[in-house]
């Protein structure tokens, strides 16, 4: 009898927990790395469990467009940069920014000093490596503010679609390549090129910075109070994860490493990335700063003859979630 | 190089032996073959399969090399003779190239031997007429019957005017009616060109009908058991095959073949 009681009890307990946890699927913008440490920390440290969430983190990759994943219903919330998200919104996919853990932009252009490039004015006639797949928008905006054609020739710049790594710079196929402060830049350094042999141009310093990793959901879902409630809990736990990661960067890096399915990441690189990412998340409590949003929009609309977005986006962000999550 | 004093001897074999190395050990394909063939003769080689008749013909054409004895063609080693274009060879199958027309096939050896374009055209026309195929030059081999294909292959062997024509069961795959007609035509051709012909067959009537000399062979090891000089006249209508003389020679061939088998 007693045994039966226990098993019934165990069964109800199991059923209870199975019903209680709400599931959330998160699509990352890129492969598992310290850029997304906050989410992995929240997962491993039980912050999501505390909020009664069952979170699945889907790693991205070079040909995975988070916007397409969420449009297909493959995720509840995605991490993306603001330019492709706004572009998708204009294409008729109504994405809304619900939180912005990254305050500053980590994007920059890294050039070999031996090419003689010292200021953006020297780009003329050089070959620049750029990421595409939705990541080209900030670059195109910057070039059009500089008045440089991207079609090549003496008066413009030649653009290469950079692969996934820094080889174009090392093999001298490009004079400058796109890098992130927390990732590719250090790969160039690791390859054996000293920092004083490099010249870097941060988008942040050039006044053309656009907002990077933010959390986006489909506008229609925000009408559903249950969904909003889930997102509130998700953002709260995620931001807790981020702040924990900022405080304990080495532990966060090891958590990321353990979640990397390919086994290709190295400890040294992830710890350094975590330290750099912490600088970008530092100024944000998770809520979007409207001034940053306006600057991003202004940059994107300044795109000369071929702007990334043509109309002022309306309703592309909300504080509804962060107001509830952070107060 | 031709030995003009004894001009009549074309092919001479003295104690020729040939051993194949096979997976089951050495195989004595030819043993102690001695034979002389004179200019203008029509010599048939007959015997059961495995008796080495084809091997002997191939050795004469320098497609195989004997291990012992001496073999000369026109007083030269066979491969020298081959380079001096001593013989045309007709195989069991016509072996025409499907991507060439009949005329193209016939002139193939001429191209290889470096004849001029004009000479090639002239010779092709002549030999096609000889084998009664004029008008078919532009056809492809696969558009013709088996008998016509074999005639084309004979034309090809004749095209470069070799003195010696070696034929390895050329009509073996044809039906009897076609075969009779081709035999008759072959005799006419032989009379018209006075070539020396070596002819491998396993048909006794064919051998007797065509030959001036019949070489009977037997297997394991391949050797000559009898050489029969035909007494038939050179002019041979088809119905000669019903004559007593013909049957007499055929009988002798059959006896020779049977004697060879007694060794088994």
């Amino acid at each position: 009898m007693k045994r039966l009681m226990t098993s019934v009890f165990a069964l109800t307990a199991m059923a209870g927990s199975a019903y209680a946890a709400d599931s959330v699927t998160l699509q990352l913008k890129w492969v598992t790395q310290a850029q997304f440490a906050g989410y992995y920390v929240a997962l491993e440290k039980g912050f999501y469990d505390e909020e009664n969430l069952d979170v699945t983190i889907l790693a991205g990759g070079p040909d995975i467009a988070p916007t397409q994943v969420i449009a297909g219903g493959g995720a509840d919330v995605v991490i993306d940069w603001m330019p492709p998200a706004l572009a998708a919104r204009e294409k008729g996919l109504p994405l809304v920014n619900i939180a912005q853990p990254f305050k500053s932009s980590g994007m920059m252009l890294t050039c070999l000093a031996e090419t003689g490039i010292k200021t953006p004015a020297d780009f003329k006639g050089h070959t620049l490596g750029v990421w595409f797949f939705g990541n080209e928008f900030p670059f195109l905006s910057w070039m059009s503010t500089l008045g440089l054609s991207t079609a090549g020739g003496a008066d413009g710049v030649t653009v290469l679609k950079q692969g996934f790594n820094v080889d174009p710079l090392l093999q001298k196929q490009a004079d400058c390549i796109s890098t992130m402060t927390y990732n590719e830049y250090w790969q160039v350094i690791d390859a054996g090129i000293a920092p004083d042999q490099l010249v870097t141009f941060k988008y942040e310093d050039q006044g053309v910075a656009t907002l990077e990793d933010g959390l986006y959901v489909l506008e229609a879902n925000l009408a559903d109070p249950a969904f909003v409630d889930r997102m509130v809990r998700f953002v709260r736990a995620s931001m807790k994860g981020w702040k924990y990661a900022e405080a304990n960067p080495d532990e966060a890096a090891m958590i990321v490493l353990d979640n990397d399915e390919t086994g290709a990441q190295t400890e040294g690189h992830q710890k350094r990335m975590m330290a750099e990412v912490a600088r970008l998340t530092a100024g944000s409590n998770g809520a979007l700063d409207e001034a940053d949003f306006n600057r991003t929009v202004a940059t994107l609309m300044a795109g000369g003859s071929d702007p990334v977005i043509t109309a002022l986006p309306v309703g592309a962000w909300t504080h509804a979630i962060t107001d509830l999550a952070l107060n | 190089m031709k030995d003009l004093s004894g001009a009549q001897t074309v092919i001479e074999a003295k104690g020729v032996g040939l051993v194949f190395e096979t997976g089951d050990g050495p195989l004595q394909a030819l043993k102690d073959i001695s034979l002389t063939i004179e200019r203008g003769e029509f010599v048939s080689f007959i015997g059961p399969s495995g008796c080495g008749k084809t091997t002997l013909l191939r050795a004469i054409a320098a497609l195989e090399y004997p291990n012992e004895g001496t073999l000369t063609v026109n007083g030269m080693p066979p491969d020298k003779a081959r380079q001096s274009r001593a013989y045309g060879y007709v195989f069991q199958a016509a072996g025409l190239y499907p991507w060439r027309t009949i005329a193209g096939n016939v002139q193939l050896p001429l191209e290889i031997m470096g004849f001029s374009r004009a000479e090639r055209a002239e010779r092709v026309a002549r030999v096609l007429k000889l084998v009664d195929l004029d008008g078919f030059g532009k056809k492809f081999p696969w558009q013709l019957s088996g008998g016509m294909q074999q005639r084309a292959s004979i034309a090809r062997a004749l095209a470069f005017d070799a003195d010696i024509l070696l034929m390895d069961e050329p009509f073996g795959a044809l039906d009897e009616i076609v075969r009779d007609r081709l035999n008759e035509e072959l005799l006419k051709l032989w009379a018209a060109t006075s070539k020396t012909i070596g002819f491998v067959t396993h048909s006794i009537p064919e051998a007797v009908y065509l030959s001036t000399k019949i070489v009977v062979m037997s297997p394991r090891p391949g050797r000559i058991t009898d050489v029969i000089e035909s007494t038939l006249p050179r002019e041979r209508p088809l119905d000669i095959r019903d004559s007593a003389e013909f049957l007499e020679i055929a009988h002798r061939v059959r006896e020779g073949l049977r004697a060879g088998h007694a060794y088994d």
């Binding site: 040909d63 449009a71 294409k91 008729g92 653009v159 290469l160 996934f164 | 081959r82 499907p98 031997m113």
Partner: protein
């Protein structure tokens, strides 16, 4: 819903028509072209119908009509990409790769030792997922079409080599003996006999190589390219959620691939008209 039922009804009708045509008029040349065309049209219509009736987002799968409009709008872009990827990358790589493979086949044909050594190793390399070497070749040969051509060279080399080696052996003993009785030199034997005899095999390899060449050139662009080319456009357009453009490029690729294959098949028919497999369907 009307779209779904309509397209399904059309499918049923078209299938019935095709079955009837195939039974009754299969000798007719026009009918033989019409049947696959109708089948293709049916596929497109069912696609259109399902996408419309199920309300599939064009960001996931655009309907063919939208793709068609996009093709018409972006002909200049499509042409620029086509010439970059197909004409420069795929075609030059195809010609070089097939040429080198034939030359190597002729060379190793003289040496049984090399054949016994090279063919197994060649088969091993051919089993390599060649797409994997694309990033390496992009690193070696730079971003422009040269690296794409290099990928294509590697992809087409082994299928053509293996087929050509087999083809050069395809002559029978009798034909080789014939050549010997005429005292033909090695090169005469090669050009008069073994090359023509190898053609059906060679074309087998060449046909396989056409599709490989196309795939190789497009795939290599994913690992770095200048700002034009079909692979570049596809990956960029996905990032911009411009799915109709993606499908327009795919349609061009499929069309170019089929045309390329068809061209090689037509040449094959001209060159190996004598082969039993070609003679049957005159």
């Amino acid at each position: 819903m009307i779209w779904a039922w309509g397209s399904l009804a059309f499918w049923a009708l078209a299938t019935a028509l095709n079955v009837w045509l195939a039974r009754a008029h299969s000798r007719n040349r026009a009918v033989r072209l019409f049947i696959p065309a109708l089948f293709g049209a049916t596929l497109l219509l069912v696609w259109e119908g399902l996408v419309r009736s199920l309300g599939v987002s064009p960001v996931i799968l655009p309907p063919p009509s939208m793709i068609g409009v996009r093709i018409a709008e972006s002909l200049p872009i499509l042409w620029a990409d086509f010439s970059q990827t197909i004409l420069k990358g795929a075609l030059s790589g195809y010609l070089i790769g097939c040429g080198v493979a034939v030359a190597v086949a002729v060379l190793i044909d003289r040496s049984p030792f090399l054949q016994r050594g090279l063919l197994p190793v060649g088969n091993f390399v051919a089993a390599l997922p060649i797409v994997g070497i694309a990033p390496i070749l992009v690193m070696w040969f730079g971003f422009d079409w040269q690296s794409k051509a290099a990928v294509v060279v590697v992809m087409v080399f082994f299928p053509v080599l293996v087929n050509m080696v087999a083809g050069l052996k395809a002559t029978d003993a009798l034909q080789r003996d014939q050549m010997a009785t005429w005292s033909a030199s090695y090169w005469q034997g090669l050009f008069k006999l073994r090359m023509p005899a190898a053609m059906p095999f060679l074309f087998n390899g060449l046909k396989i190589a056409t599709t490989l060449a196309l795939i190789g050139a497009i795939v290599a662009e994913f690992f770095g390219s200048p700002t034009r080319g079909m692979g570049f456009r596809i990956s960029t357009a996905v990032g911009q959620l411009d799915l109709p453009l993606v499908w327009a490029e795919i349609a061009v690729a499929a069309f170019a691939g089929s045309a390329f294959y068809g061209l090689v098949a037509v040449i094959e028919k001209g060159v190996t008209f004598w082969h039993p497999s070609q003679r049957g369907r005159a």
